[in-house]
Symmetry: C2
Subunit: 400 residues, 2 copies
């Protein structure tokens, strides 16, 4: 069947036709997508409240129209990523029910009963199981799709399947290029502009390190990464963690996912300087955030090493010193990527509501400068940190 | 038309059918392949001595038979590599006349009037234009297929096209893995075995560096590389250079090609210790070899930088310091790969006749130990060399 753009009615007919729900079920459907490149429908069985999500790729960017075409194959790739993530980290991503290449859609578990982490964290919500759960996803994805574990021929077939030029280009531009100069695409708080012009965009040493990370992102096919693992692409509750939207998935540096995630935690950490919560609440929540970062990274490392000890197949995995070298690089790269994520969210095209929720632009820019400076510090000094605790300790001391 | 294995007769009919030669030409055909995985035919027009080569992939390894199947697509990939090399470095690789995916064959320029460099170098032949010519091929291939120049979306399409699992696996095993332990596949001179067992295979620090280079080879999609650029895969005369057999081509570290080539020059350099030529001849030829290495690498660097200055497109190419960083890494990686190539040719599966031509096994093993030690030194100290001249000077001093 040829591609056609679904609406609520035709989506409902489609879902009936594939037999996911009983024939006589009373179903409802509504489009809930707020994105620019996909349609998202929730189909609910009104008799028992069971529901699924249909995500259909649009062949263009919605707000721009047909002048900016996009490859429909990305949804199939997202489906494959979900399939692999489900296998390697069951329960930590949406369950996948169907991939339809013709309609460029996937049908998956509806998780809208869980909240997205970012708004939760803006309300100081805590997620006691998050560090343990997300570290399992990252450690399993990072290890079991790497050359340490996979047959090299099968790994290369997966590399090929996940070549993802269009979405990688978005990351290459928006994260690794634009924020380091006065690019039109940047979205600059006017109160921040003087700092960018007089200070930040003059930092040649920082631009050089950014260029090295862009090179890494462009060339290093280390493992399958989610590719966009921020707090806005994770559903969470006090009991559950579900990373979603892996349409940016590709073979890249393993550290990109933990780096993205930790960068987002640090952004939230600094955002409280621009808000009016009680110092006690802020202090407590910040302690929680830093402990979370410590736990996320320490558990990620521990589980990665456990996978290595139990399952590594490449003979070089047993060479004395190689695991330490590999794990050390993961930490150093994670800190670099975290710094780059902090920077891109301040004045690149896409921001975080954590900081953009600070209405006063002057106050917002003070927070932005602090985050830019800390991002820079993580990037420039990344090789000087011995553990994630060194980093969180530095941040704690700078703000206590 | 389905794949069928050609013989001299059917190859001739095939060539007649595609109209490369005049209809009434008197053609002859003979199979000259000495390899295990391809058939190679030379078809000659006896009236004017014009000739072409047909290279057909076998679907299995010839000496083993059908039990070791091989992907026929590799010949198409080789054809594509030749097409790209012809475009980026015209005149430095065989001209390509036809690619036939069904028969898994390519038709190309016959270069058998030129000699292969390896036997030439064993007879102390000199190639006065070689450094200039091969450096053009390496600098253009390395630059114009990289992210420095290519549109990132188009580059990824090329990465995909050159995913080459089977042939990469041969390199991964034979170069980066087997030589570092007592692997069954190794081909060990009995007189060398005691050194390997008591000394070489005990070198844990070296194995660690080898593991890092294997990681690089497995993951770093920097540019399209020839993938097997040794003196046995180059036709040369005093006027011409033609690199052939790019069936190992894939997206990998740019330094792999210059490293392979320079490693082969150094092997030839040390091989004279096991032969009975006059000291004067050996001294002169060695000076020529070291000057060649200096020229190959210096010209490669200069042309790469010129390409960069004239043609770089990625905005990060202009970041101060990035080009120095990139060029520095190319040198360091080249030395590391050169060292690994020297080592693999001593006791890995495939040797060089340069050294295996030394009939006395004891004398051969002395040369092998010297090459193993120099290979190790290049690998372990690679970051300490400031230029290629530092390396050739070290070698000159150690043997004068």
């Amino acid at each position: 069947m040829a591609y056609r753009r679904l609406n609520e009615e035709s989506c409902l007919s489609y879902i009936r036709s594939i037999g996911i729900f009983p024939d006589d079920a009373h179903l409802s459907c509504r489009e809930v997508g707020d994105g620019n490149i996909n349609l998202v429908f929730i189909i609910r069985n009104e008799s028992n409240a069971k529901s699924v999500v249909v995500k259909q790729a649009l062949p263009y960017v919605r707000c721009v129209g047909e002048s900016w075409p996009l490859d429909l194959g990305r949804t199939i790739r997202e489906g494959r990523a979900l399939e692999i993530q489900n296998r390697l980290a069951p329960g930590l991503v949406p369950e996948l029910f169907r991939v339809d290449p013709d309609l460029a859609l996937i049908v998956m578990e509806d998780l809208s009963h869980l909240g997205v982490m970012r708004p939760g964290m803006i309300q100081m919500r805590r997620y006691p199981l998050f560090a343990d759960q997300i570290s399992t996803l990252m450690a399993n994805l990072g290890f079991f799709t790497s050359d340490l574990y996979m047959d090299p021929v099968e790994k290369k077939a997966l590399v090929e399947e996940f070549i993802n030029p269009e979405l990688c280009k978005i990351t290459e531009d928006l994260i690794f290029t634009d924020p380091y100069y006065d690019c039109e695409r940047n979205n600059v708080n006017p109160a921040l502009r003087p700092y960018l012009e007089q200070v930040f965009w003059q930092k040649e040493a920082l631009r050089l390190e950014a260029a090295k990370f862009k090179y890494k992102f462009l060339t290093e096919a280390q493992s399958l990464v989610h590719g966009d693992l921020h707090t806005g692409s994770i559903f969470a509750s006090s009991a559950q963690t579900k990373a979603f939207d892996p349409e940016f998935a590709y073979y890249g540096p393993t550290a990109f996912d933990p780096g993205s995630l930790i960068g987002n935690f640090f952004i939230n950490y600094f955002s409280w300087d621009g808000k009016d919560n009680s110092p006690e609440d802020v202090g407590n929540y910040r302690s929680y955030l830093l402990e979370s970062v410590n736990d996320i990274y320490t558990l990620f490392e521990r589980k990665f090493v456990e996978n290595w000890q139990r399952c590594a197949k490449d003979i070089i995995a047993g060479v004395p010193g190689y695991r330490d070298f590999y794990m050390r690089n993961l930490l150093v790269d994670t800190l670099g990527f975290a710094g780059m994520i902090m920077i891109r969210r301040m004045h690149g095209l896409a921001h975080n509501i954590d900081v953009d929720g600070i209405a006063d632009l002057g106050r917002r820019s003070e927070v932005q400068v602090r985050i830019l400076e800390m991002g820079e510090r993580l990037i420039m000094n990344r090789a000087g940190f011995q553990s994630i605790r060194d980093v969180t300790e530095l941040i704690r001391q700078g703000t206590s």
